[in-house]
Symmetry: C2
Subunit: 243 residues, 2 copies
């Protein structure tokens, strides 16, 4: 296992940070590393907002569901899917531009995720810890207002970055035999059952852990109510109409 | 710049491969590195189909728009967003499961992209070359049939992997000043204009290059017709209803 693969496999979310600040030049370098990720047809359909204003950091911490580390991490970035820049650029060449296609939402969201994951890895390679903040989709319109996001730009997720003040365990993953399938999709419910047992054990044994749960039971909040049921209307209003 | 950041910044798509085969153990190791990426609420909403059947490789190469390297690369993977596994696991615990929310499509697509980007980086760290194949969304239903994908699973993109038989240039990216913004979204059309000049120069000067174009003009096919206009109906039929 080479050191890069070792780094990838050692990822865990960091939510406690020291007071040490990330030098601005390093932050810029991380974004450049992000931009080097593959991008669909070279479209680079993303913009990153570096939230420095402390009041906005506090507000986003609240809007994301009371995640205080959004305010306390050295830096906080909001990764936005951006179809405004490329559609307007194309329009300036005289091209006839169609907006709001489902495909464009996918392209922009995937582009943004690929670039963010490069930023995460670059950060971790420099000894930083990171935590993705999907919770900004709890209140995407309020976040968009705070950051002055125009139409055809939407906040996909945030990311806290800083020097780690904690060393949490690496969380187990589903067996690779469930994820990687040969030629055809096959049922993997037995592997899921085995993973549930492993997670039950992990939750009871980990440092300070007394949680009685497993993977399947932990998923309940994701599916048992209409999680972030506003997303369709929000995206439609922002110009991502999913046509 | 540390070696990992250097690796990230040296990415370019590889479309020509030697005959050397990737050892199976290495491929599995790449997937494990992929699984270590952050995942929303631990949901791990992805499945990777390793397409080994040569006839299916040929067929996918065609369906993806005549991309022969899909058939000729050492290995070809189809990264699928998978909401079947977690929703069924949740259901088995007795939870009341809601499907088809727009948020769930985003979660699964982003989860898949984060894990794929880790696979890409792990592969490149081992000297392999990769190329994402968004073209599988040209004919997503035919691909889904070929791979026996069930409902609540959709193919997001493919990836060719192999030992590089070419050494193409690293393609320039938009100025970091356009991508990284402080506190608020701001206009960057002047930076785009400068980038258009840089790309025009790049296309005329690169090895074997005589192409007269720039970034903005290259975007035309993405927006001037209804690119992959079938995606909405396809996703709806697969159970991703974007409610």
């Amino acid at each position: 296992m080479n050191p890069t693969i070792e780094l990838l496999k050692s990822h865990r979310s960091i939510r406690k940070f020291t007071d040490r600040k990330i030098p601005h030049e390093l932050l810029v370098e991380l974004i450049r590393a992000g931009q080097a990720a593959a991008t669909s047809s070279h479209v680079q359909a993303y913009t990153v907002i570096h939230v420095k204003n402390p009041a906005n950091r506090e507000r986003i911490a609240e809007l994301a569901g009371g995640q205080s580390y959004v305010a306390t991490a050295s830096d906080f970035l909001v990764f936005c899917a951006d179809m405004k820049r490329p559609t307007e650029a194309s329009e300036r060449t005289g091209a006839n531009v169609v907006r709001g296609m489902t495909e464009q939402l996918l392209v922009a969201s995937v582009d943004t995720a690929l670039m963010a994951q490069n930023v995460a890895i670059a950060a971790e390679s420099e000894g930083l810890g990171i935590c993705y903040i999907g919770g900004i989709r709890n209140n995407p319109q309020a976040i968009s207002d705070l950051l002055h996001l125009p139409e055809h730009v939407y906040p996909v997720f945030g990311m806290c970055l800083g020097y780690p003040a904690a060393d949490p365990d690496v969380k187990p993953r589903l067996p690779v035999e469930a994820i990687l399938k040969e030629d055809y999709y096959t049922d993997d419910s037995e592997l899921v059952a085995a993973f549930d047992d492993a997670m039950q054990h992990y939750y009871s044994e980990r440092r300070g852990g007394t949680k009685d749960s497993n993977w399947s039971r932990n998923l309940t909040p994701l599916f048992d109510s209409k999680l972030r049921a506003h997303m369709r209307e929000f995206l439609t209003q922002r110009g991502f109409e999913m046509k």
